[in-house]
């Protein structure tokens, strides 16, 4: 299987504080990879390095086929990204948001127009084409944000707590979109604080104090830690954490 991401010894220090401490792992094409950890464990810092917006202090790796250190600009162009906090421009219309992100990722006008039609049709959104995003219900916004994040067909999409504060039914709809994307071969790298969502990943890693202390399929982790649920696995690991968040 092709690797979409491979990192080894990835480290980030701020002064004498080691935020990310020699993490090594790889992610396979089409995989849904859950990136878990307590607040302050180093997830955000690690994600920033993987997305090419922060330089590691040590270590190496590739994301979407590009070198984290030498080709970080190319990484940015070849990944998708979505978070609960930053996703769409509220004061732009639905089509304008798609147009903007398509343009940022360098797609041609004609391609954007064609893909926009197809996307709106698939989401059953055609009647909302000219609606300002701020007037969309949250569930729709979220679907649109995810679709925009993978509009340029990246090899891998990073989802940073995509479902925080969301209705249980909407969370599940969202995960079904994630499955669809994965079935189409897009690799999904996702962080979440919902442990039931950890179960929906093919593999999960759990960060503690800047290290990856566990990495396997949810079932294997439950077995390894003799735990009934991922919540319990998480608690066992986080209990060993020494640094407060």
């Amino acid at each position: 299987m092709n690797k979409v991401m491979e990192v080894s010894g990835l480290t980030k220090k701020f002064g004498n504080f080691t935020a990310v401490d020699h993490i090594s792992f790889d992610v396979t094409e089409g995989e849904i990879f859950g990136f878990l950890g307590a607040n302050g464990a180093g997830k955000t810092t690690a994600m920033q390095m993987l997305c090419g917006i922060s330089m590691p202090t040590a270590g190496k790796g590739t994301v979407a086929g590009y070198d984290i250190i030498k080709q970080n600009e190319l990484i940015k162009r070849n990944i998708g990204y979505m978070s609960q906090k930053f996703s769409l421009y509220e004061d732009l219309k639905v089509w304008e948001n798609i147009r903007l992100f398509g343009g940022i990722y360098g797609l041609r006008e004609k391609i954007i127009a064609e893909k926009t039609d197809a996307l709106l049709k698939r989401l059953d959104f055609e009647q909302e084409r000219n609606t300002l995003v701020k007037y969309l219900p949250l569930g729709w916004k979220q679907k649109l944000a995810f679709s925009v994040a993978i509009f340029h067909e990246p090899k891998i999409v990073f989802l940073d707590e995509p479902t925080g504060g969301v209705d249980p039914a909407m969370r599940r709809q969202f995960w079904e979109m994630i499955y669809e994307a994965a079935d189409q071969g897009i690799t999904v790298f996702v962080t979440t604080h919902y442990m039931d969502e950890a179960e929906y990943c093919n593999r999960v890693s759990i960060m503690v104090d800047g290290r990856i202390d566990a990495l396997d399929s949810p079932a294997a982790l439950r077995h390894q830690f003799k735990a009934g649920s991922m919540d319990e696995v998480f608690r066992q690991l986080a209990r060993e954490a020494e640094r407060g968040d």
Partner: protein
């Protein structure tokens, strides 16, 4: 106690968006009352009215005998409010923020240290750090300390645990349990269904209305669907297959299992055969105990 009577609030041109649609409830002393619902349900509007920060279109919120609209000065003295967004002074240090809020209420950190001790001790080593430079979990602890420092009778917490990891969430709820024992009324909103069980009573909120108000157990006992769990391999494909089965009404992923609600005529063996024909062999189909999350999904 808290007495909320027929609160209504709408926004936008000609009141197009109904945030609150005639909400009534009461909360007793020493009770943790949870408002459970998604973003946009109206939780923040409700809490802001109760905190005297927003005027209702109609209806009243009486906080320990004081009307949140008319006696807002008194109400502000007896409540502690933690808004959804971090709203402390980013450029003041941890200690300066806390001193500031204590001074506003004519008290001092020393006087009410016992109230915040559990929480504040965890961030005290960083008391010289600017609030803006704290991590999410530490900001949350500081915000709660600031909301408690004047010894409020009522604590209003708007989504205090969104974006907080499972371990810190548990600690936070343990702390609320201890505050409750001191007689503080706690009103808390959350989108995490598992937190519902830590409340004495909960209201399930959707689109400006309380669709059910009861103890967590009462909510679950009122569940009227027939619920089964299905477990196997290839869970994504299994979910699609379950939706193709005539007697399955709804089918959703639920952690490592799927939960299905079914018609009364449902026979688990028939489902097992149906799934086996589609290539799902080692499938476990079992009756499931509903959770608050199942109840919410059924409403």
């Amino acid at each position: 106690m808290i007495e909320v009577n027929k609160l209504c609030k709408s926004y936008g041109k000609q009141g197009k968006i109904n945030a609150l649609n005639g909400i009534s409830f009461t909360v007793d002393e020493g009770e943790i009352f949870g408002v459970i619902g998604p973003v946009g349900a109206g939780k923040s509007s409700l809490f802001r009215i109760m905190a005297s920060l927003l005027l209702p279109d109609s209806g009243t919120a009486i906080m320990n005998g004081h009307d949140a609209a008319k006696d807002y000065r008194k109400v502000r003295q007896i409540i502690g409010y933690m808004p959804e967004r971090f709203s402390l002074y980013q450029d003041l240090s941890v200690e300066e923020n806390l001193t500031f809020f204590a001074t506003l209420f004519n008290t001092s950190i020393e006087e009410n240290y016992h109230l915040i001790k559990d929480i504040y001790q965890q961030i005290e080593p960083f008391k010289k750090r600017r609030a803006g430079a704290l991590s999410g979990g530490m900001k949350q602890k500081l915000a709660l300390s600031c909301a408690l420092i004047h010894k409020p009778e009522i604590l209003i917490l708007d989504e205090p645990t969104t974006g907080v990891d499972p371990v810190s969430r548990k600690e936070f709820w343990d702390m609320l349990g201890r505050l409750k024992e001191q007689g503080i009324i706690i009103l808390v909103s959350t989108a995490y269904m598992d937190e519902a069980s830590r409340c004495d009573r909960i209201a399930l909120m959707r689109e400006g209305e309380f669709i059910a108000t009861d103890t967590p157990r009462g909510i679950i006992e009122n569940y009227r669907e027939i619920l089964w769990s299905v477990e196997g391999t290839r869970m994504s494909a299994l979910l699609t297959a379950l939706r193709g089965y005539p007697e399955v009404k709804t089918s959703f992923a639920f952690g490592d299992k799927h939960h299905i609600t079914v018609d009364e005529s449902f026979q688990p063996d028939a489902l097992r055969h149906f799934l086996a024909d589609k290539g799902f062999h080692d499938v476990r189909v079992e009756l499931a105990e509903p959770t608050v999350e199942d109840c919410f999904m059924a409403m």
